[in-house]
Symmetry: C2
Subunit: 385 residues, 2 copies
């Protein structure tokens, strides 16, 4: 075996010991069993129930958002948030090329068009400087809105995503959004517990969204939430996610086309217990980051992703970034580590390289393309350190 | 109080005793706690897990469908089933006017157009005779397909729904579907356990869908399933419901635009336990139907819905149908029974009377409109008899 892969395995073993390690697995050592049992005993396992209300309240308290609306997953949260941000069919929505496919899909479900933008090296999230340059060359004013001068479509929203939990440069992105009249919606699926200048991610945009999928820092089995400070938007999000049924003692009247996107109470019960564990998970992940830093300190050809300046990251997925010169060893490293029982993973295929999104509008993507060739996620579960 | 409402309360009390009764509540007296605890202990609560596989296998066994694909709810099941049936944007899909809004919404999510049709008195589901007459006057052949001659849109699919668990006239509907080249997709959300000529509902169409919402005969908190005898369609349904990710050791590649519609394992664990209880629930509901029949036998102005000839209904929701002459007492009956702690409910607002569906294509709907004025669902939980 080549030197770099085996050096990486050694560094991982120094932290993780001889055991196999998955990329990220959930941990249920709090009140998970108790709350779920209580939920089943109450018979309220489904769309109405005390755990949903409690989970929403506690999420709002924790993040500092005025309101949180629990939904069936992070993808559904994004779809509703974008709709409430005013995204309409044929609008363009700027999303990172370096993201999980759900960010682009949610735009597409509304009949709108994702427009892919580049990432910054220091955050792995949307690069505000590159975006401003790109919009300067691409956007043209038309009345109150800005349009893509090549496609003629209205540019409607901007969706930064906090990659692997690292907050992107929200202040600079808010300024771009302001100048081009783009509504900012944060895809905070990966960044529960991450703060930008002490304020929780997902609370800077008009709306923000979370995911509680099984691979996230806390899980509800499947789940998501919409965060917003606007009470009317929150009420509307709740309405849309519960089939837009108008409250009535017995009538079934729906005043618009809604969705069945509510989070079941049994999943919220799990979520309430997980949220209690979140501070522990965050501390463990921060310890793991420090231990990886120590173990990888001697490695010349790669560096570990660290939280951006002024930010506190949840370190959801620990990330090694190979130097350009070592990029061609990425697949050898992935093979060697996975063969050794140490699960690692490259970046997602960039959005504009996925078959369904090949012919969509895009900015130049030099950094996203470079990162995609060099980035490797390391075993990251809470409890590993 | 007026005579009819109080006669109905007396009849209900004769069956239900002095206690309050909800319309339908779930019952967890089997292995629900055990399976869910086991699921949490395994840490596989989310998108992959043994309970999802088992639930799918057991659903297929129980219904006789070759394959079942578990998804996040019945609405998502319908959306995927319709997409796989070939429904495309701007197609028209025939659905009953008398249904829960999800049937129409699923069509709309695909950019297609619901076209509302009438119900039959004996089944409460689509009336095949009226539908054939309507299509005779409305559909015109164009190449391989049939179009709505008024809108010019292609007629693509037919979605019968088995109302309150009573199977509709599938053979006659299959014949209409055949003659007009409509793909039949059954919305069997309410009819798990119901059979038409001994064969399970949901297995007659090219695809069929189930719901395990909290108000259904069995529940997973939130959940649904797609049934089909076509292995390729089943595999495709699984693929679409799991973000269309192509299996790979580490790459994240999606070859089409999919959805996050998978059922979490923790919900499937609940489902496995509930499915074991289904025969008991069916027996109890059948007993309840018999006891209501006895108690309401003396009532002149209304009759109880009975399973259609040749069918075995799950009697999911017990249904009283007022005579035309008593229709104007419906609201008084709803008020009196609900005030007495006996939860009753009218039919859903008909689809064409909902604000978002007001200007959609529709057949004459005399029976749906008549039924909607006269129908009352009675307390129906398993365990009441
Ligand atoms: C960046 C990003 N956006 C959106 C989602 C969608 O969340 P979910 O899987 O809960 O639908 C995820 C997680 O899967 C994600 O990582
Ligand atoms: C007729 C009908 N179709 C579809 C659905 C949708 O199912 P779900 O609520 O699981 O999305 C339901 C139940 O709510 C229903 O009654």
């Amino acid at each position: 075996m080549n030197a770099l892969p085996s050096a990486i395995i050694d560094a991982l073993r120094a932290v993780l010991g001889p055991e196999n390690a998955t990329l990220h697995e959930p941990r249920f050592q709090g009140h998970e069993q108790r709350y779920v049992q209580d939920c089943i005993a109450s018979t309220f396992v489904s769309s109405v129930g005390a755990y949903v209300d409690r989970f929403e309240r506690e999420l709002a308290d924790y993040t500092g958002a005025r309101r949180a609306v629990a939904v069936v997953n992070g993808t559904a949260a994004l779809q509703i948030a974008l709709q409430l941000a005013g995204v309409e069919a044929k609008d363009e929505v700027i999303v990172p090329a370096l993201t999980f496919v759900a960010t682009a899909n949610a735009v597409h479900y509304l009949g709108a068009v994702p427009h892919f933008a580049d990432s910054a090296k220091n955050t792995l999230g949307l690069d505000p400087t590159a975006l401003r340059d790109w919009l300067g060359a691409t956007a043209e004013r038309s009345g109150d809105a800005w349009r893509n001068r090549h496609t003629g479509r209205r540019l409607r929203a901007l969706v930064p995503m906090h990659t692997f939990g690292h907050p992107c440069d929200l202040n600079a992105l808010l300024s771009v959004a302001h100048d081009y009249r783009l509504t900012l919606v944060e895809d905070a699926a990966e960044s529960l517990g991450s703060r930008y200048h002490s304020r929780h991610t997902g609370t800077f945009g008009r709306l923000g969204t979370l995911s509680f999928n099984g691979n996230k820092i806390i899980t509800t089995g499947g789940g998501g939430a919409i965060l917003t400070d606007d009470k009317h938007l929150a009420d509307h999000a709740k309405h849309l996610s519960t089939t837009a049924k108008v409250p009535h003692r017995w009538d079934y009247m729906h005043d618009e086309i809604g969705y069945n996107f509510r989070m079941p109470n049994i999943n919220a019960a799990l979520g309430c217990a997980q949220l209690e564990q979140l501070p522990k998970f965050l501390a463990s992940k921060r310890r793991l980051a420090a231990r990886y830093r120590e173990a990888f300190a001697g490695l010349e050809q790669a560096s570990l992703m660290q939280e951006p300046q002024g930010c506190e990251s949840n370190y959801w997925l620990q990330t090694l970034i190979l130097d350009e010169a070592a990029a061609d060893q990425r697949d050898a490293i992935l093979t060697a580590t996975n063969d050794a029982g140490l699960m690692t993973r490259p970046a997602w295929t960039l959005m504009h390289q996925l078959p369904p999104y090949r012919d969509f509008p895009l900015a130049p993507l030099p950094m996203a393309e470079s990162l995609a060739r060099r980035l490797i996620n390391l075993p990251s579960s809470a409890g590993l350190a």
